[in-house]
Amino acid sequence: MKDKLLLWSLACLLVACQHKPKEQLMVFCAAGLSNVMQELADSFEIHHPSTLVLNLASSGTLARQMAQGMLPDIYIAADQQWADYVSDLGLVDRLNQQVVGTNGLVLICAVNDSLSEADVDSNLHLLPLLGDFRLAMGNPQHVPAGRYAYEALRSAGSYEALADHLLLCKDVRSVLMCVEMQECPLGFVYTTDALLSSKVKILHTVAANTYPQINYVASLCTPEDAAAKAFYDYIASDEMAPVWLKYGFVK
């Protein structure tokens, strides 16, 4: 009985192997792009025979997986630094990298908070607004959104005063959650994150010239693969610009 079962499963395995698998494209993508990338992938799959497999995580985690030998077809980083990291490792040719979208940085508070735009000046004197709570932002040492916030605070000259009143989170979503749950009265997140949540409101849009441009950089790791190249061009094409805009990204 056991032998028969084994034979059967072997036979099934052989039959299964004869089916040539549909071409799979592995896309490593910064988690902040999950919704826009899902929509782009779905519409791409309608017109092309390939299936897309999305691996969503923080840019740094993905870059490290690549450094360990897990090479995807396309890698989309949430900032230039991690894109440079993989090209410096020789995993991608710089010629096969392009900016596919940009984002903005905003200061948010809970939607029912009494604060208004007038309470925030362009020098970001936020300490009086915090009380004895903390300002939530990504950890600038490894969260891109945190680094942009850090740069913005530095150029406004208010970082020193706030340094001991920060809650450095592990990613932007944690910042959003802290502000949503009112554990922190204020937080720095991307424009797109602020638009996604109905529990927060944008208190202040940080002046774009106070921090480096927030670029989403796509890297084409397997340029010899036609389908990978097609998707790489597809997400950056003008026809797809409305999809990016829909989620608050700027093309």
Binding site: Y85, H142, L167, M181, E183
Partner: protein, 229 residues
């Protein structure tokens, strides 16, 4: 030797971890003895429900535990709001929060061992002690606890080790604030995110292995001594 010299953040993480783990075991022990005794010796309505509830953190993803803690003990949470408004106690994103997260997550481990250990104690000895005139409290401390000691000790070590390794609930409920709530696992996590911190990561990993090993050896030693006696 230079490899083993810690910078201030790493040292903070180690000291903080020990503080959290020791406080956590200190808080858990009396609770586990009381509840463990009640569960082992008495039958009451809703016992199964209470037991399952206490063991929840053992099977739930720690992040979920952290999230629930935030809902309950956050500064706008169900109980947290009262603690903050009336006593000015803030747990979320403070040291106390790290301890609370560690207690909640590691308590079931201690409770299980303590309860089983007390169940193994022959109630005949307790009865004899009572007949000979000792009070219930005295019997508990002089008969039940010493006889259950090996199990209590192994529960202590388990919960100490678990609280030392607690990550998910802590980062969600207490955050990752250097010197305040950044214990060894959280520091390791942060260092792993940054290029060029491989040395620091490895150092802290070694230290956590070392601390856990020492704790295990101690408990083995005590258990053996108790068994001989």
């Amino acid at each position: 030797m230079e490899f083993f010299s810690l910078n201030i953040d790493e040292l903070n993480a180690v000291v903080l971890s020990l503080k959290v783990a020791l406080l956590c075991t200190g808080i858990s022990l009396p609770l586990a003895l009381l509840i463990g005794y009640a569960l082992a010796r008495y039958e009451f309505a809703g016992k199964a429900l209470i037991e399952s509830f206490m063991h929840l953190p053992l099977v739930m993803p720690p992040v979920t535990t952290g999230y629930l803690l935030l809902l309950l003990f956050g500064s706008k949470g169900l109980f947290g709001a009262y603690l903050y408004d009336y006593f000015n106690i803030k747990l979320a994103f403070h040291f106390g929060g790290a301890v609370l997260a560690a207690v909640v997550v590691s308590f079931p481990l201690m409770l299980r061992s303590v309860r089983t250990a007390i169940e193994m104690v022959d109630p005949g000895y307790e009865a004899a002690s009572r007949i000979l005139g000792a009070s219930a409290t005295k019997t508990f401390f002089r008969i039940t606890i010493p006889l259950a000691m090996p199990g209590i000790l192994s529960g202590l070590v388990l919960s100490f080790a678990r609280s030392l390794g607690e990550f998910g609930a802590t980062i969600t409920f207490a955050g990752n604030i250097a010197g305040e709530t950044q214990t060894i696992p959280l520091a390791i996590y942060s260092y792993m995110q940054m290029p060029g911190y491989e040395g620091a990561t490895l150092r802290l990993a070694f230290i956590s292995v070392f601390i856990s090993l020492v704790a295990m050896v101690f408990s083995e030693y005590f258990v053996r001594r108790l068994k001989k006696a």
